[in-house]
Symmetry: C2
Subunit: 341 residues, 2 copies
Amino acid sequence: MDSKKQTARISRQTWHFAEDVRVQASAVSVGPKEGEGPLSSYFDQIHDDVYVGQQTWEDAERKLMEDAVTILLQKASIKEQDVDVILAGDLLNQNITTNFTAEKLEIPLMGMYGACSTSMLTLATAAALVNAGYVKKAIAACSSHNATAERQYRYPTEYGGQKPPSAQWTVTGAGAGLVGIGGKGPRITYATMGKVTDMGIKDPFDMGSAMAPAAVSTIHSHFQDTGRTPKDYDLIVTGDLAAVGYPIVKELMLAQGYAMEDMYNDCGLMIYYPEQEVFAGGSGCASSAVVTYSYIMDQINRGLLKRVLVCATGALLSPISYQQGNSIPCIAHAVAFEGGA
Amino acid sequence: MDSKKQTARISRQTWHFAEDVRVQASAVSVGPKEGEGPLSSYFDQIHDDVYVGQQTWEDAERKLMEDAVTILLQKASIKEQDVDVILAGDLLNQNITTNFTAEKLEIPLMGMYGACSTSMLTLATAAALVNAGYVKKAIAACSSHNATAERQYRYPTEYGGQKPPSAQWTVTGAGAGLVGIGGKGPRITYATMGKVTDMGIKDPFDMGSAMAPAAVSTIHSHFQDTGRTPKDYDLIVTGDLAAVGYPIVKELMLAQGYAMEDMYNDCGLMIYYPEQEVFAGGSGCASSAVVTYSYIMDQINRGLLKRVLVCATGALLSPISYQQGNSIPCIAHAVAFEGGA
């Protein structure tokens, strides 16, 4: 018992998972624009309609999360009753995508909110609960939808508001991962939980700049806590910093002595082709979730990537905090994956 | 190591904490109406102004949570740096009370959302992380404010909208608990995580009826999983079912063979006097948080209560889900406390 306790806590921010905790299966469901991007062959389901056959945008987002979970259970050949808990979150007020999805599932729910960092917040917590033996199998899930996010955070899409090039395109999709002990799939070895950082940026059309310091804070802590360096990873990705935030992270990390070169990428840059008119790139909970739960898991499972660090980045503002003149608090949570038996 | 794993998971929903996990300190800060209620002598801080000296309602709610955490650290004689993580949530869109509070703290944040069940969702998760050794000390916190909730969920208070007697009064306050191993304070022995239930109720002015079945589901699971009955507890409280939901729980539990008599109460009924014009009673994250982190912890510490079960209840709707004709999904999470050395 003591050996586990000694290894569970590496530092204030970093947890180590000594058991054989794995992402035993994962699934993603996306919208049409994402299906036209460079990672399309890795997605389990591509809808050709942004309404996903539903009457409202909100119902469409729910359907995406439901589909991701349903496909996940099918791929893992298990039933809802075999899963002890679902840890999930989304960007909509009161996490309604999550709540209405969980309503249809016979699985206890732990709702979480970390804006676009929710993908790794839920996965890290799932790994902790599984590693400690509170639950046998846990699902981590999150979603975003371009149209629900636009009308909640900015303007209804019908309004046709103009945007600056630093703006990002919220990814329409959902991703889910099944966490358990043993079996096949990438191992989850470390999680580094982020602190809230705020550099005083107030422009909601420049989330990349706002979130970059949060990513740097968490990645830097991860390296310090684990003794690892960028070279220990085949791939390090941030969640949704896109074209504006990505070079800021590179520069700030280099200033701290960590050269993040070819091994560093950003999910918001990976999910779309530049010519898809997505401004600076993708954003939203689904940006890191969809890329992690499809391409990254696949590449680790096929032995093409051995060690990957996913640092999901979240901007913790609300329209009312922005309107009241507040700056944008940001956070990032990171999870380390490892391939091999 | 195996003994811990065997005892950690009692069932799909219930976790057991084998280590000496305790609420080592707790603190609450409330508004003026709460300070006029029957529990006023237990509160650490009572503000005589609903603006709490701030310019906006939202800033007022933040100040309440900041005050609760600040007082908590003082009472425990520790610094921010001694705390590994804060698990927190509130009712505002994008959890902004939590996010802006955590921004001022040098403590990693795990944001959670379970509507008014957030009090026990955060505390249960904190206990799990501490018991397993991922963190040494964790803060669980949540808040609500009558005026921020009114304008976000219903109408601005200035509008003076009429309400039916089944409506509830959102508690203005915040509560925080410090969870660690050993020392003094009530022990946390079990947590039972809830499933989302939905009885098809669509009236947001009758949350008590909507949430009662979720409370019954979780309390029933808790008894089944632990082998306990109502008589094993000196006090069982639900979070905020108030005068409409409270008798429904009693009736539904009795129908399942569990007589919840004098030992059963509801935080929404405990926090105000009936003559305080709060319709059916109190609601909000702060209802269960403020009562638990003041009166209940005090009574256990003084040996006047030995075993207490707090079942925090949450209505997982949003204004948009209500406007789109959806029913109200609900959830409840329960934590068992125990006194003595």
